[in-house]
Symmetry: C2
Subunit: 418 residues, 2 copies
Amino acid sequence: MPLAKSWVTSANSATHPFPLNNLPYGVFSTDSLDPRCGVAIGDMILDCQRAEETDLISVTDDPLFDVPFWNEVMEEGPDLWSALRDRLTQILAEGSPDRERAEPLLVPQSQVEMHLPFLVSEYTDFYAGRNHAFNVGTMFRGPENALPPNWLHIPIGYNGRASSVVVSGTDIRRPWGQLKSPDHDLPAFLPCRRFDLELEMGAIVGQPSDGPITVDEADANIFGYVLLNDWSARDIQAWEYQPLGPFQAKATATSISPWIVTKHALEPFRCMTPEREFELLDHLKDTGPMLYDIDLRVTLAPEGQPATEIAHTNYNQLYYSAAQQLAHHTTSGCPMNPGDLLGSGTISGPTKPERGSLLELSWGGKEPLTLDTGETRSFLEDGDTLTLHGECHGDGYTIGFGSCTGTVLPALEDPYAR
Amino acid sequence: MPLAKSWVTSANSATHPFPLNNLPYGVFSTDSLDPRCGVAIGDMILDCQRAEETDLISVTDDPLFDVPFWNEVMEEGPDLWSALRDRLTQILAEGSPDRERAEPLLVPQSQVEMHLPFLVSEYTDFYAGRNHAFNVGTMFRGPENALPPNWLHIPIGYNGRASSVVVSGTDIRRPWGQLKSPDHDLPAFLPCRRFDLELEMGAIVGQPSDGPITVDEADANIFGYVLLNDWSARDIQAWEYQPLGPFQAKATATSISPWIVTKHALEPFRCMTPEREFELLDHLKDTGPMLYDIDLRVTLAPEGQPATEIAHTNYNQLYYSAAQQLAHHTTSGCPMNPGDLLGSGTISGPTKPERGSLLELSWGGKEPLTLDTGETRSFLEDGDTLTLHGECHGDGYTIGFGSCTGTVLPALEDPYAR
């Protein structure tokens, strides 16, 4: 599929993240417009609320865009998802007869504030990157016992905290927590000293289910994808996580990129999961290409300094697809809802520069990373700005995710001062 | 505090669960009434929606009872909670001038269906019962290493799945899941063979917080309590829980009792947490009596058979109060919201008949329990009805929680048949 051209000419570039082929969904506001749904096209956003009010978009009987989140669109289901995308493509395509009505509804991206694109119903974080699981396991248990016995049979995951999901651009306050240094007998309540990022993608469940669903049904229920940074307090995690898993270590914040890239836009970039060491059980078996070829990069900019690229990998490094994760999520009968967010797990490639966390990049702090500025990092410092980037490279066009960024603020001096 | 008398005379008994001293909050419907908020008094329910529509209850400018859940009341905060309770007490007290207006708004409990009393925002399950943690730890690691090193310093918890919370009376379908028998090399996808209950209480967060809060602030933010059965698939859990904790093993269902017993009603039953083996860190320290003296019982009835009491313990057996759990939950900055539900963790007393799970009662299946019917149980069988009961014994009155019940249905023959 080549670049599809739009009358919004900024979209007609081989490297622009938001060509007509993409049409990602977000929620924006300006000084004069309340938060509302919009679609990115080139450097502009089409105001979906006004487009619906003026009947430029009219694909359902009841309004879809009278609320500032995309959950109502999700709830309508795949037929509506296709109809809406078709209509948006028609409106924004080069030569469209709708141009005159649509042009006044465009807002420059430079003038907007972005918000969470959907109400996060519940948030689950998986652990489906084999290199990440192997690296972390090697650090804690040695390379022979790196992968837990279940890992090659089941997409390991845990429930996270939906209330802590924030949109890209939100500052992240370094947390306090209960820690125990190896050289102390007792724990203490201190600011986190090993604050980290996790490079992930988030899959957004768009349709409900109430009982076990197959991998193909799960794939059909996914609405789209975002970049996701699961901020992690490694020292809090080390002390708390046995026996019931991570809790406060992962509850400070999880940042997501503001634009939902739809499954439809990603279709040309589907690719296979890796060879299986053990055959998966029937209900988790691959049914076709269900990963995507998405180029992923992480940059770190110390306060007032230029950014260094610290990781470069690809979504195709995952062992389990989001569809397999969602299918597993329903095996016990767990009801799923539109707006459920599934983190992929940290994505690391096989070599050092492909590692998606500082824990792995600095090997637990033993091999600090040197930035382009000459500074070193084992874990995040106050003032650091972390940014995730994601792009699919098509034939003469790009499907971009925008970026997912956040700046680390110093811990509160006294978290209980009022 | 003695029994407070009501003109609803069924409430004026020393053993009735719902005297005027209690006034628990639920959501009910009848053949002719849509689901709506109500308050239990004796054998009746006061219809709050109609009471508000007729200005019998008028404690806020905006309506509280135009929705079938108690979250809007929670959001109003503690002053409204007190004002509402005062007004309800006034309306329902013996000799009340409001009797004539209120009497037509009473609905017999025998005629209603109960619904979830609130929208569950997020669900967290703790592990704060020392005897339970010791018993489970002893089975898996021996008595010397039974409690994990963090256990006496931190209320261990994990995020559960809010979508799986159901109201008492909902049937519970035995789940399928990935299991691995100790005598097999590879896992299989099978119906759960070790399906269990967990006797817990749930604390309902009534006020939002956005940063660390103290134990006293946490206590003030709690709206009320319910009985909670965290149905658990022990064989799924054993295979999946390392390294990130329980996931599908706990996602089939969590049942709660339909009546929220308010913190106010429980006030006379406050009691101290146990002696501390290690001094707690300042932010978790006990600030007064924060547990409650609540008598708890579990009965099991095989299909078509009478029930046997299989466990009898007390909420005062917990090591950490709900306020301490909530305070810990916020340490990392995790935002909390009205409607968040905190499971206490399984409550077991020190002796065998006080154990709150079949895992403990049958010691991992090695010592099957004999029921009054002569049947034995290691874990739950299809058709078993499990019921939790909770009561506080006051001076001439009872504060009851009603019951929390559920019947185990057989696993689906083929979970993917459509």
